[in-house]
Amino acid sequence: MTQEAEPGRIYVDTQHEDLVHDAQLDYYGCRLATCSSDRTIKIYNVSETSYELSATLQGHEGPVWQVSWSHPKFGVLLASCSFDGSVFIHREIRPRDWSLVHVARRIHDSSVNSVAFAPHEYGLKVAAASSDGRVSIISCQNDDDWSLEYIEDNALGVNSVSWAPSGAYHDESNSEGTEISRLVTGGCDNRMRFWKLQDSGQWCEDSQSQVSKDLCHSDWVRDVAWAPCLVPNINMVASCSEDRTVLIWTQNGRNEEWKALLLHTFDSPVWRVSWSVTGHMLAVSSGDNDVSVWKAGVDGTWSQMSTVEDTPETQHDG
């Protein structure tokens, strides 16, 4: 369906039969993947003024919570995670024709809440965070086999996982340039945890850098997002929580302490945070549908840029 809309803004009628939980644009920004409680994923081709349904992907046996696009060097790949405990990796083999390249069915005992492709420099890998308290790392091996590892996070469950961008840490002594993969997770224990891949190939909690306790979340961490790297060894992570706050964590140098800054306390629980591609802006979604965009000033203070207006129908409500 093509739909004309006011310039600069398109409303995509997803035609999902239940709530839509996630929407992600691919690397080029011309395809949109959405997922829903109706257990399907929909792919749309997006142009500047219109959109068109390209495919509907099925197979999950529960609500699909999140989707993640791969880097284009791997072709057109989409990872999805579901309440059914599974992670699927779909591939468009020819336009509009999708296959599953990997099915990690019920790799978790419980809902898989978050899924994310690793930066392509780390190879073809997917991290998935589950309510069973574990994070799984699914990696594509050279022989097209897929391996599966688990990270034990916290017993209450993990809500979100985000990869450190490639180049986030620069080690002078490491001339090889091989980089250690890192992850951050946010969970029902109200905490964030930093993980790194050791030389041994095992994941371990990054104990070298402390996480400041001056400011922390008092309820579930719903989402974490590692910012794109602007300056090597200066890293930022945004976290949002059921406690209605968004915190911006900054680490000024390798192995330094992560320090938090309160971005804002919102009116309702905050569900997602997302950095712009260049890392200058942070989008925050809270409540049922409130989206705001924040920008850091030169002095490090954050200011709200705009609120993405709500739909007219909810404005007229009541």
């Binding site: 009628d13 712009s276 840029m305 993405v308 409500d317």
Partner: protein, 1038 residues
């Protein structure tokens, strides 16, 4: 269901802390001292920190001894004006006494007992609860069958709900209504439940839940709905949980939950998701129920009890709870954490207090708990695109966020100028508008270099207008004529008149033709003019020599002479080298006037270099502009940019833009063939990426440069972006290379499966943009093949090979080799598709397959287990089919029951009295209405159709319309079901009458009336009709 932590050796009752900051703290009131002494009847109240997050052992925070054992314990967050920061903790004791403690004091080991209430007869006070809507109000129920209300904020206020509050048996539980603060219910061992109204001081209703003599073990109000009550039966023969809807009946429960095999001991309705219920019974099971499906969806695992500890627990409750019949863990108390979602606390006869999490609950047939469902999401994409979705509708909002609005505006303005205006005009405008001299100069120069007569123009610009100078010179000369030339002549010629001797000497020399001597003579005597005149006859050599000598001799008196010297002597280069940088304008003017075309640029460059050495970069850059030296002029502009950036401490986008503008304009002058130097290319790349960040993709493409890796990546990204065709054009029509090494991911060996439900009923898509994006996605897969694929697929190139062994390809497909990886791939010459996988003859040619019927839909119904079967569908919203009442109560129609007509298959599975009221609008399946209601249907559907066809509908209007459709669908269905009271129907008909006469104002007032009076029961359709009316007014009233 995972066990998080436990405290062993406590036979106890427990309560969670309701304080947000201490959400892991519990209070445990023991039912024994833990000792074996005969005398010791006392117990203790312990506070523990369970430390759920870190998984550490529970930590005892404080403890206080009591003289009697605990029967119940309850914790309120009421601080009584800050006096008790940790709230109030109460315990119902076995001796009929109720104590109130200050938990903060217990932790500090200070005097903690605040109050003791003695209102009940001796016997355990098992029922205890704080009013959630009046936190200092406590309800208690004793073994004497009495219910007491205690207002802890008032010293001695203890009263009974009404005069005859007595129930005839021990009170087993009390529960405050969650919506109305003056309603409290009590359950008794005689199988009755009373609901008390404290305001009117009377019993609101009485329920006979169990047959006489069978106790109601527990009761609970719906956490979010005022009139739903659950009661649990202790009856071993009929251990059910009953759901009462007090609106519809106080004699018959709405439904029952069966699953326990022996009497129920305790139950708790989940405060965070009213669809979840936890119950435990004498059958040693602790069941988690889904109240939607009315089925157990999980069970809290039990520990095997070892007999050693079993014999130690001598609690009398053990017998009440059914004795020691089994060696399984028996829980007698369950509750949810009021703060932590999905965390439960249980107390069991084997002296354990355990916390479990149901977050890890796995069940593909169950709905996810409410807290697991994200309510909204947002995500950034390339080019500042932002997509978001929420739980209010099924739409995705896509917009572009411009981070640097002023920068974007600058760029947009500049690009439109380039499109519409003459570049020279733009320069002129800039030159005249700016107030900064240096900028005015720069733009004036910039403008002039576009002029075919630029050298002349530049002279004027420098203040040397030839015409003006000529007229000035004339004027000056005339002036002097009138004012007496003599004086001037004297001044100008200091040498006296020629002496006789000299004259003679010269004359003689001329006579013999020795001009050398004559000239020499004249010079010696200071008659330079004569010397020059004579030299002009004396041959080239002498002439040159004399000129030189003249200049040397006179240079001090006449400062224009070096200039004349240079011009005559072809010594401009020398002149430039020796020129005074301060007088660069003159030097430049000379170059402009005298330089030959071939040396012009060299000389300007030389002057520029000189000025640069002198430190006058600004004027140097002007010279470089004259020489069209992009490299050198760019350097100065880069310096300017650097300075601004340094002063600002970060990249100044306006300065970057200014830089890009200058270079761009200059490039137009120089000609498009000139190449940017590396530094300029880098800055252009940066400029381009900044433009892309603002969503200005096409402009970004224009300025992108492929010199660096980042530049290549950006160009690729722009080329395949949603603005692909325009970007391609802006990049000169040459598609950039794919900058990454392609990795081909093959199908996993396990479980290959097709997931596409092919939606080939592609809607007509006239825009080339989408065709293009399709094309570009193809090329994304075929690596560097991109950009050439159109030609290639049209005319197979020599690289086409046809391995005989591989068999034939389907029509239209050819095999190609990817030039970069050497891998073979396949392209369809007609469609432009490419793929790494070899197309199979059938697959590739397959017509759009008919939509596969979903297997679930064809599953034959199994009448014996309707719920189980039905729960496979959707998210288990089967109640909508099997329990329509529940669906309409518990499910909010919009989301819980999304399948509507499409899921008709479910309805056939179970017996349906009242179909679900779904908001799905299916024009082919509009319910039939009775004749008098028919106008409602005709009118509303007519309005919807008319609105649908109206061309002035915008995007937001369409959303409003779909809301309207939902509402109308619900209304029509409910009308068909007879679910709408006649008086409301009448109102609706009245409104319809107004709508048919286009009297939207009156229709609105009828609707407003309805909304204000009937919203509660009819919001599901009123909302939509409201939207419809609003839309109709908007569309037709304008």
């Amino acid at each position: 269901m995972t066990k998080i932590t436990e405290i062993e050796g406590k036979s106890a009752v427990a309560a969670w802390s309701p304080i947000q900051s201490c959400s892991d703290v519990i209070a445990i009131g023991t039912k024994d001292s833990g000792g074996i002494g005969f005398e010791d009847n006392g117990s203790a109240l312990d506070l523990y920190d369970l430390d759920l997050s870190n998984g550490d052992e529970p930590r005892l925070l404080g403890s206080v001894k009591t003289e009697a054992r605990f029967s119940s314990v309850c914790w309120s967050p009421e601080t009584l004006g800050g006096k008790y920061p940790m709230g109030l903790l109460t315990g119902g004791m076995e001796n009929g006494v109720i104590h109130v403690w200050n938990p903060k004091a217990i932790m500090k080991n200070q005097q903690s007992l605040i109050r003791t209430i003695k209102g009940h007869a001796t016997g355990p006070v098992k029922a205890l609860q704080f009013n959630p809507l009046n936190l200092s109000q406590l309800a208690t129920g004793g073994s004497d069958g009495k219910v007491l209300i205690v207002n802890l904020d008032k010293e001695d206020e203890v009263f009974m709900p009404c005069e005859s509050t007595q129930q005839n048996a021990q009170i087993t539980a009390v529960a405050w209504n969650t919506q109305v603060s003056h309603i409290v219910a009590s359950a008794a061992a005689d199988g009755t439940v009373s609901v008390w109204d404290l305001k009117s001081k009377k019993s609101w209703c009485n329920l006979r839940c169990e047959s006489a003599g069978k106790a109601v073990a527990d009761l609970a109000w719906n956490p979010s709905e005022g009139l739903h009550l659950l009661t649990a039966s202790a009856d071993d023969n009929n251990p059910v949980i009953k759901l009462w809807d007090l609106r519809s009946s106080t004699s018959m429960p709405l439904t029952t939950l069966t699953g326990h095999s022996q009497g129920i001991l305790s139950m708790a309705w989940c405060p965070h998701d009213e669809h979840l219920l936890l119950s435990c019974g004498k059958d040693n099971r602790t069941i988690l129920w889904d109240l939607f499906t009315l089925t157990p969806i999980g069970e809290v695992p039990i520990d095997e009890v070892d007999h050693q500890t079993d014999t130690n627990s001598n609690s009398q409750e053990m017998f009440a709870a059914g004795g020691l019949a089994s060696n399984h863990q028996r829980r007698y108390d369950v509750q949810w954490s009021p703060i932590k979602r999905g965390v439960t606390l249980t107390c069991s006869l084997d002296r354990k207090v355990q916390a479990h999490s149901i977050l890890g609950l796995s069940s593909s047939s169950a709905r996810p708990p409410k807290w697991m469902r994200p309510s909204s999401s947002v995500s950034f994409g390339f080019g500042g695109s932002l997509v978001s979705c929420g739980s209010t509708d099924r739409y995705i909002r896509m917009s572009t966020v411009v981070e640097e609005e002023s920068f974007a505006k600058l760029s947009a303005e500049f690009e439109s100028v380039l499109q519409t205006t003459n570049v020279a005009e733009y320069c002129y405008e800039r030159a005249t508008k700016t107030k900064v001299t240096s900028e005015a100069e720069l733009w004036a120069f910039m403008q002039i270099i576009f002029d075919p007569n630029s050298r002349q123009q530049l002279l004027g610009m420098l203040g040397f207008d030839p015409e003006m100078i000529a007229s000035k010179a004339n004027a000056y000369a005339e002036d002097n004529l009138t004012n007496g030339i003599e004086k001037l002549a004297v001044d100008d010629k200091p040498a006296g008149p020629m002496t006789k001797t000299t004259e003679q000497m010269v004359k003689q020399a001329i006579m013999v033709g020795n001009f050398d001597a004559a000239v020499e003579c004249c010079f010696r005597m200071g008659h330079a003019a004569d010397a020059l005149l004579l030299a002009s006859y004396g041959g080239g050599d002498l002439w040159t020599k004399t000129q030189q000598r003249y200049f040397e001799a006179q240079v001090e008196k006449r400062n224009f002479l070096p200039l004349v010297s240079a011009v005559f002597g072809d010594g401009l280069a020398d002149l430039v080298q020796k020129s005074d940088p301060e007088d660069w304008k003159e030097t430049l003017a000379i170059i402009l006037t005298y330089a030959k075309t071939e040396e012009y640029h060299v000389l300007c460059d030389a002057l520029g270099d000189l000025l640069e050495q002198y430190g006058d970069d600004r004027h140097a850059s002007l010279c470089f502009m004259c020489s069209m030296n992009l490299g050198k002029v760019g350097k100065y502009w880069r310096q300017q940019l650097d300075e601004v950036n340094k002063a600002k401490g970060s990249l100044d986008l306006a300065a970057l833009h200014e830089y890009a503008v200058k270079v761009t304009i200059f490039l137009v002058a120089v000609g498009p063939t000139s190449k940017l130097c590396l530094e300029d290319a880098e800055l252009f790349s940066k400029y381009s990426s900044k433009l892309a960040e603002q969503g200005l993709l096409v402009s970004a493409a224009k300025y992108s440069t492929p010199d660096s890796y980042e530049g290549k990546v950006l160009r690729d990204r722009l080329y395949r972006s949603k603005a692909s065709p325009s970007c391609l054009a802006a990049m000169g029509g040459v598609a950039p290379e794919f900058p990454f090494d392609m990795t081909n991911v093959k199908m996993s060996r396990a479980e290959p499966a097709k997931t596409t439900r092919n939606t080939r009923q592609m809607r007509t898509q006239a825009s080339t943009a989408s065709n293009y994006s399709q094309y570009s996605q193809v090329s994304a897969m075929s690596n560097s093949y991109a950009g050439q694929s159109q030609q290639r697929s049209a005319t197979p190139t020599p690289s086409v090979t046809q391995p005989a062994s591989a068999g034939t390809l389907p029509d239209g497909w050819i095999e190609l080799q990817d030039p970069s990886s050497g891998m073979m791939y396949y392209a369809n010459q007609t469609t432009g598709e490419t793929t790494w996988e070899r197309p199979q003859p059938v697959a590739a040619q397959a017509l759009p397959p008919a939509p596969q019927p979903e297997p679930q839909k064809t599953t034959p119904a199994t009448p014996s287990r309707p719920n189980k079967l039905a729960s496979k569908y959707g998210d288990g919203f089967v109640t909508s089919a099997s329990h329509p009442e529940l669906a309409s109560q518990y499910g909010n129609v919009g989301t819980s029951n999304p399948y509507g007509g499409a899921r008709a298959g479910i309805a056939s599975v179970s017996t349906v009295e009242k179909p679900p009221v779904s908001g799905t609008f299916d024009p082919n399946n509009i319910p039939e209405l009775s004749a008098e209601l028919q106008p409602i249907k005709d009118c509303l559907i007519g309005v919807i159709d008319a609105l649908k066809a109206d061309p002035s509908m915008g995007g937001s209007d369409k959303r409003l319309l779909s809301e309207s459709e939902r509402g109308v669908a619900v209304l029509l269905k409910r009308l068909a079901l007879g679910d709408i009271q006649p008086e409301i129907c009448a109102k609706v008909l009245q409104m319809i009458g107004f709508i048919t006469t286009y009297d939207f104002g009156s229709a609105q007032s009828v609707l407003t009336d309805l909304v204000s009076s009937e919203w509660r029961g009819h919001k599901d359709w009123l909302k939509g009709v409201k939207a419809l009316l609003q839309l109709a007014r908007k569309i037709w009233n304008r």
